[in-house]
Subunit: 457 residues, 2 copies
């Protein structure tokens, strides 16, 4: 078996930022890295061209009655900026203690490689393992998977041959407690642009005459939340799914510590949906966040200008059963209705994703028609986690989003077993992202055991 840490270093060295055309080479490198690794394990690899970054579709053939799992992952990463805040180079993997630092280490290169390594080990131990395995590794997750719908259309029948999806692109609450993720938030993203005068103006010659677009934007954004922490958009909460009692029971098992969490975030006050603790709010409630804002002069010193334009990047995290298009429309309607006179408001539509929920076997609301192989997979994962980590996993919805999970469900009916592997301190989407190598080691062993148990039938 290959050395997983050395392989992960190789993987991170390919700067695979999907959203930025400057990183085309890095994207290609990362794709070829995954493709050739899977080929070396005996998979037949299909690199499916898309308009932008290809999707890797790799299969291990087997007999029809064998269980068939579809392992999902992505080879692209978030932009690394602001680069100045990185303590080690973003694309030069650096091991310090039991952590490996680098953009993508935790999201999703480390966890994906964990599952590839588990497959490699299981097949090395038993080359005749009675299990069908398909890898589906995309390169556009961090940009909202724009090519995925078309791929899904073309490959739906092939995907339907699988029994369930398996992935590690969700979180562990801490090093000792595994979570099998039972739900994901969706996404609705858009940019709002406010335009005032037809060009930047001297604030002395024209200041006091017209509405500054930065002021207009601030006034609009300030209306979008209540002081108590609710999103102040009409109809925003209409379709929010109630929390099932067993979900609250599972969350209690987490024993999460608010004080430690506040300290980790560096804040002294939480700001949650009223009636929800921070841990409930992030898992069970939707948000409207400002991911970026810009306008006018942002350099050193001063420039006494009234800018022509200002903009903000807005993203909503959605919970079942909110629909991204409905929410986008409601947010745009609210903004248009509240925009002051004297400025023009435009929107740039960005990507979106449906929320997702899966109920493990044996719960009050488990679907009666749940796939028996999915149920066995959940039980095999529970057993493997209990053996390797010394305690059973808990089932929790989480705040993050993997929109294609809901897309696959809608198109093929396949549900997902989500084995979380990254930790809160891994700094996903932020400078100094890292991945815990102990978690990686235990993750490989857990998935390996799950595969072996599942293969036993």
């Amino acid at each position: 078996m290959f050395d997983p840490v050395e392989k992960l270093k190789e993987f991170i060295r390919h700067p695979s930022v999907s959203t930025d055309p400057k990183f085309r080479e890095g994207m290609k490198g990362a794709q070829e890295f995954v493709s050739s690794l899977l080929r070396s394990l005996g998979f037949s690899v299909d690199v499916v061209a898309t308009k932008l970054h290809p999707i890797i579709f790799a299969q291990r053939a087997g007999e029809k009655h064998w269980p068939h799992l579809l392992i999902y992952g992505h080879y692209d990463v978030q932009p690394a900026d602001p680069l100045a805040l990185w303590k080690t180079p973003a694309f030069e993997p650096t091991v310090i203690g039991n952590r490996i630092y680098g953009r993508g280490a935790a999201d999703n290169k480390g966890p994906l490689l964990t599952n590839i390594a588990a497959v490699a080990q299981a097949l090395e131990d038993n080359p005749k393992l009675p299990l069908r395995i398909t890898f589906l590794v995309e390169g556009e997750e961090e940009m909202g998977s724009p090519s995925f719908p078309k791929f899904l259309e073309a490959y739906a029948d092939k995907l339907k041959e699988a029994d369930f999806v398996y992935l590690s692109d969700t979180a562990l609450p801490n090093e000792n407690q595994v979570v099998l993720t039972s739900g994901l938030r969706g996404l609705a993203l858009l940019d709002v642009h406010v335009t005032g005068p037809n060009g930047d103006l001297h604030s002395g010659l024209h200041g006091g005459v017209l509405l500054n677009p930065i002021q207009a934007l601030a006034e609009i954004l300030a209306t979008l939340h209540t002081p108590e922490g609710r999103v102040n958009v009409p109809g925003f909460y209409d379709d929010v799914l109630d929390v099932h009692p067993w979900e609250r029971d599972e969350l209690k098992k987490l024993g999460a510590d608010e004080k430690a969490y506040a300290q980790f975030l560096g804040i002294d006050t939480f700001y949650t949906t009223p009636g929800f603790s921070p841990f409930e709010s992030v898992r069970f409630q939707p948000t409207l966040e400002f991911n970026g804002i810009g306008g006018g002069y942002q350099g050193e010193g001063t420039k006494t200008v009234i800018p022509s334009k200002a903009f903000a990047k807005i993203s909503c995290r959605l919970v079942p059963n909110q629909q991204p298009d409905v929410i986008k429309q409601r947010v745009m309607d609210a903004i248009r209705a509240r925009a002051p006179k004297g400025v023009k408001v435009d929107f740039v539509d960005q990507h979106k994703g449906d929320p997702y929920v899966v109920v493990p076997p044996g719960r009050s609301n488990t679907p009666t028609d749940q796939s028996p192989v999915l149920a066995r997979a959940f039980r095999a994962a529970e057993q493997a986690v209990t053996e390797v980590w010394g305690r059973p996993p808990i089932y929790l919805r989480e705040g993050g989003s993997v929109p294609i999970i809901a897309d696959i469900k809608r198109k093929t009916g396949l549900d997902s077993v989500m084995f979380g592997l990254f930790l809160p301190e891994d700094n996903l989407h932020a400078p100094n992202e890292s991945f815990n190598l102990d978690v990686m080691k235990k993750g490989i062993e857990t998935t390996r055991r799950m595969l072996v148990t599942l293969a036993k039938g």
Copy 2:
């Protein structure tokens, strides 16, 4: 006499952005250009070193009883960004029709060169012209003249030898009507920084838990104006000087057209201090503007991050008798009082400048102790303007700021005759700045005649 247009091209080619250390060479080039031009006219030139950009102090000696004017100008320019919006290169002067395009063309290189050319012509016509002339040309006007107070301290006695200051760093309302500026607004500038979590956070993993600093900043900024257009800071208007009746009469002479002004700005609604027309508001009322805002991800596509920080650049234009330090304190107090819990607010103090007012001779509120040479200078300027432009000048306060004018008054008692030369369409501080070459030609002739009349005693 040199060709003023060719000389202006030379001047613009030196990219003299004072606020940005990258332009050190351009600053040096512009300084040497002015120094050597004045030397070639027979001035004894003193390049006074400062901590940053030197001040040019150049004198033409003469007899003690001759009138003595101090001509002020600046050789530095505003940053040229956003460069993408320039139709011709910012530092490559381009003549199109009767306009010359380039950063600094109108602020202040064209107007300064107009006055230098007028002096050159007057001295060529009469090398023995009985007039003492001092040039004071600084290189830090666009950054708030940080070195000027120290210079003023050291050179106060020399400056006091002059009778008045003469400058062209204010505006013409249109090509046909000269304004002698009777007042300038002051400035109070500061940046506000809002800090939330101790690093950027993944908006899925942590969204819904804490106050986003962009949201906090928007909520703060949104409180700083009333919907009607007043600055909503306690005490902000306490020291605002009433408008004298003759000032309103002069403004009427302007015959300014609101519809044309709105069209020029590209807006459909004015937003002024209630009770003031746009033309009154910009001249007689203070403002609080947002010159820039930034935070989080501003690139293409999306990055689902909760940023750690957000900031805004604030500038207030002040009118007599507001005091910059008092206003800064009141703005900071209001922001601190209104900042929501869960974020930290800090300020970066930027520069400031006092407002200024000068009353021409013969008005209801002309000071009884006004310098007779200043009164003669105003009359000489009125006569020259009437001859060259076909109609007398009007006296108006304007919205812009030349803070050192108030500093000189406070330190030396000298008042200023401000002969406006740039037009609203000159795009000062904005992309595609330009200067009208017909205005330049008439400006040279006006100042030349004023000098000759003044020398007659």
